[in-house]
């Protein structure tokens, strides 16, 4: 199936853009803005708003039409979890399948100081009416907080015999998260921990595809709750045990 942006009719290709050009505002600037949008490959461009931001800058709002489309059938992306279990179902599943509590260690690693993501998944209170992993009776959850070096993180996981580790990465400037995540995987492999751990990444600029490319088992982006992550962990553990 070939798809295009939808404005008010199927396949109209309507796109809304806004940008600033480093020139004084006026008819010439507006025309330049229109030509710029056309040069991006759009077939029709309307500059619906032009506003001087200073004597040297002009801000524009534009609507344009594109003929570019995407073959949706060729787009590859696998969700980490298709259908997730509820908190109770996860606990029942652990009881039946592993007959013991499982251990999960989470942290915001590297230089990143933002715990909002890992807290949303792990804290007792949870987030947006979804309890965190600490509330799960069959999960032993350890939230190590922020700015945890990769070495310390893995040491701790080994110490508590973790079944899974959750790495949160909020800061993505200059791809610092990619470097840090790659470092963690390499370290886990060097220490022969990779096969013993379910390794999961989360963050606002993270998705399942990126996580797998970096060597993780799964990645979760915005809109993720504890039960999504928990479902993935227990299914992956069962899969590794051949269950």
């Amino acid at each position: 199936m070939f798809i295009r942006p939808y404005g008010d009719t199927l396949d109209d290709g309507a796109v809304q853009l806004s940008f600033t050009l480093p020139v004084p505002c006026g008819g010439r600037a507006k025309e330049a803005a229109r030509l710029f949008v056309l040069k991006l490959g759009f077939k029709k461009a309307d500059i619906v708003h032009a506003e001087p931001l200073s004597e040297e800058f002009s801000f524009f709002v534009a609507f344009a039409r594109t003929e570019v489309g995407i073959d949706y059938g060729q787009v590859e992306y696998a969700e980490a979890v298709d259908k997730h279990m509820s908190m109770d179902e996860v606990n029942d599943y652990i009881r039946r399948t592993f007959k013991r509590k499982i251990v999960v260690v989470g942290a915001c690693t590297g230089t990143d100081a933002h715990t909002v993501g890992i807290d949303a998944i792990m804290n007792m209170k949870g987030y947006n009416h979804h309890f965190g992993l600490e509330r799960y009776p069959m999960i032993e959850a350890f939230n190590l907080g922020s700015q945890v070096p990769n070495e310390k993180f893995l040491d701790y996981a080994r110490e508590v015999k973790a079944d899974a580790v959750l790495v949160s990465q909020i800061v993505t400037q200059k791809d610092v998260h990619v470097q840090n995540l790659t470092g963690l995987i390499e370290l886990a492999e060097a220490e022969k921990l990779r096969d013993k751990l379910v390794m999961v990444v989360g963050g606002p600029r993270v998705d399942n595809k990126l996580a797998q490319e970096l060597g993780y088992d799964a990645g979760f982006g915005p809109g993720t709750y504890a039960e999504h992550v928990a479902t993935f962990i227990v299914r992956k553990m069962a899969e590794r045990m051949g269950k």
């Binding site: 404005g7 008010d8 708003h49 609507f63």
Partner: protein, 532 residues
Amino acid sequence: MPAAKSKLGLSKAKISKARELAAVIAAPVQDYIDAHTTASVERATLRLLGADGAAADGAPVPNLITEKCAAGLDGGAARYYLNALIKRAKTPAELNSEIAAGLDISDLPAADEKLLRLKAAELLKGLDARITANVRHRNAKLSEYKTNVRSPLIYVIVATGNIYEDVKQAKAAAGQGADIIAVIRTTAQSLLDYVPYGATTEGFGGTYATQENFRIMRRALDEAVDKEKRYIRLVNYCSGLCMPEIAAMGAMERLDMMLNDSMYGILFRDINMYRTFTDQFFSRMINTAADIIINTGEDNYLTTSDAVEKAHTVLASQFINERFAANAGMPARLMGLGHAFEIDPAAKNGFLYEYAQALMAREIFPEHPLKYMPPTKFMTGDIFKGYAMNTLFNFVSKATNQSIELLGMLTEAIHTPYLQDRYLAIANALYVHNTMAGFFDEVEFKKNGVMARRARQVLDETVDMLGEVSKTGIFGAIEAGAFAEVKRPKNGGKGFEGVYEKSSAYWNPVEDYLRKKLKIAKRKASPTGRKA
């Protein structure tokens, strides 16, 4: 909602005075209305008796009948149709096909008067059952999902031109939180003296109002009702030259609201004033019988006039619309009087004026489902500023307990709403409505503050204006440009040739049925008589 103490210190005596003046203004117009009929009233009558369908060239059956019977329309079109049903021993569907194929029913031999009455009674019984079932269904769904009702009701528009595309967008909007879907009509449909037939997929800036399109959208929204567990209301435009016919179609297909103003067509579409006044009365009887909420169009005044200077024209028109609606048997709970948030965003204290005026409307019309309209006049291509203005509009709407809120679109000045524009508008409104849920009850105002003074001033100016209009009469006032600063001559405008003085033999069983159902007595000429 019960009338609480005025937070703005509005004078009850002045409000009563305004209502009295509106009654004085409406009385001679009502005398005129009672003595006249129009081509569209007659076509609406035929539709309610069963006339439907179209000829191969698209000419609708009701028009074919009134054109052939034009010479006798002052006696009512119903007689011709009922007579043909009896004389040819046909069902309405069979007769419609014959008329569509060219049958002229204007010169058939006359059937016995008693048989005509019996036939009318039989068809009206069917009509009443259909309308009653519609009302019952709506009320049952409203009651089933009443715990999910939010206030104000969120009203959005679809306008693609293609009814099937409209359906997709309407369902998406319902899923996002819309309570009311209006299908905007295609440009200039209001000036067509017929209602097109069948499903349509081409329109400009809107979609044709046809009975089939009504059915298609109703079916789609009914699916959304059970999915979203909220009753989703459907709106169309009961205005223009076919106002009564649209009302008839809406009553039969269970529309829930109708744009329906007593003066909009005169002022903004240059439709003849006698035609419009006569049509609005018949339309409003039908809307009332079908329990359909009307939305009046006062917001439009402020798109042509200054919203600060001419705020009183809105209130004056609301009083007049209220009176005309009451004359058609309509209870306050169906009168969605209109007003708007249209003050120049650059005006100092503009927000306070908006707030004061919206609250004033709420206090003066406590039981009416007020329809509040978003900024349009000062919307530009700066969609970000527009979005901020819409947030303030949402604020006032919630802070003053408006009933029906037509959401502003950030791209108002640019194009018919994109799917994403509607989504952003609904998200904004839901955010504001929820975060200030209890605001209305929390706030009071300074006795002589900017807002209280503003509201009192608008009410004073309204009473003055209504006093003037009651002296010149509404026909003269419109000629002089009292509303929206638009001047319309009495005998000018479109559709005047379709106005007929009722002959002594005039018979309209549908009108009789409506008057009886709504308990509207035939009025005697008022003391001011034919001054109009």
